[in-house]
């Protein structure tokens, strides 16, 4: 079976639910591209995700409006044991799967293994979360520059990004 067209599917679904204005998905004709500057085995890799990854025991789960509409950037140490990580994200296919295994959407252990095997040099000291903003402009003007700043501070040569 062919892959799901979410833009069409969600437009049809929300129209059927009485929403009048379809969501405007971001679209650009030009796509920027930066080649890798050194061999992969010498690269330090950062991980950035919109999966609401969080550390167990941090009781403050944050502001739900921030997480769903406003946006923001936060970081956690990459060497934290994966058993301490979880996601309270509710926007995934709850009927088909779960977020019980962080590495299925936030592959920090798999990246550490790739470093141990020499495929890459290392993983950056911090890995990052980005909350989805309703406004494209907010993401492009606030959150993306903050991610760039943190990745540069950590000496990242390239970045793996994962949604849920």
């Amino acid at each position: 079976m062919d892959y799901v067209r979410y833009i069409d599917r969600t437009r049809d679904y929300y129209l059927s639910q009485g929403y009048e204005k379809p969501y405007e998905w971001a679209h650009f004709d030009e796509v920027p591209f930066t080649p890798l500057q050194k061999p992969l085995s010498e690269c330090r890799i950062a991980l950035v995700s919109t999966s609401d990854i969080a550390v167990k025991g941090d009781e403050d789960e944050g502001d739900p409006a921030e997480q769903l509409f406003i946006g923001n950037v936060y970081s956690i140490p990459a060497n934290i044991p994966v058993e301490q990580l979880y996601s309270h994200q509710e926007h995934y296919d709850v009927h088909a799967t779960s977020l019980d295994d962080p590495n299925s959407f936030f592959p920090v252990t798999r990246l550490q293994e790739a470093a141990s095997d020499g495929l890459i040099a290392s993983v950056t000291e911090r890995v990052h979360g980005v909350f989805t903003a309703y406004s494209h402009r907010r993401t492009l003007e606030n959150d993306a520059p903050e991610v760039l700043k943190r990745c540069r501070e950590d000496g990242a040569d390239a970045v793996v990004l994962t949604p849920v």
Partner: protein
């Protein structure tokens, strides 16, 4: 919208000289936005990096994304993970339907509450 956010961030990083690769499950959203490198896994929203607890599969998908960082020579390079969802493909027909709404119960309430709060903050000019 998660896919759109990572796509926007990836584009910004590429513009500023940092190579990126996205591992995602919503191919159309990522390609509509337009990104440099993209590993598409044809799985339900939630597990782009492989099925839960299948470390072998996850490693193959993550390694493929790392190799794509080095091998891609032009933007809009998408490769597809060679895996199919082990429990069949019914989910593809059911997602975002009356039978299986994307959000229901508490998740829907949380979403509506967050949306109301966002509107309130926006009216006050705080976001």
């Amino acid at each position: 919208m998660c896919h759109q956010t990572v796509s926007l961030v990836a584009r910004y990083l590429e513009e500023h000289g940092l190579p990126t690769v996205i591992i995602g499950t919503a191919r159309d959203i990522v390609e509509h936005c337009g990104v440099a490198r993209h590993v598409f896994t044809d799985f339900p929203l939630g597990n782009p990096c492989g099925e839960p607890f299948d470390t072998g599969m996850q490693r193959k998908i993550v390694d493929a994304s790392l190799e794509l960082l080095a091998s891609a020579t032009a933007p809009r390079t998408t490769i597809q993970s060679p895996f199919t969802w082990s429990k069949g493909e019914d989910w593809k027909e059911l997602i975002f339907t009356e039978e299986q709404p994307f959000l229901e119960g508490e998740a829907l309430d949380n979403w509506m509450a967050a949306k109301a709060k966002y509107r309130e903050l926006k009216e006050k000019g705080e976001v």
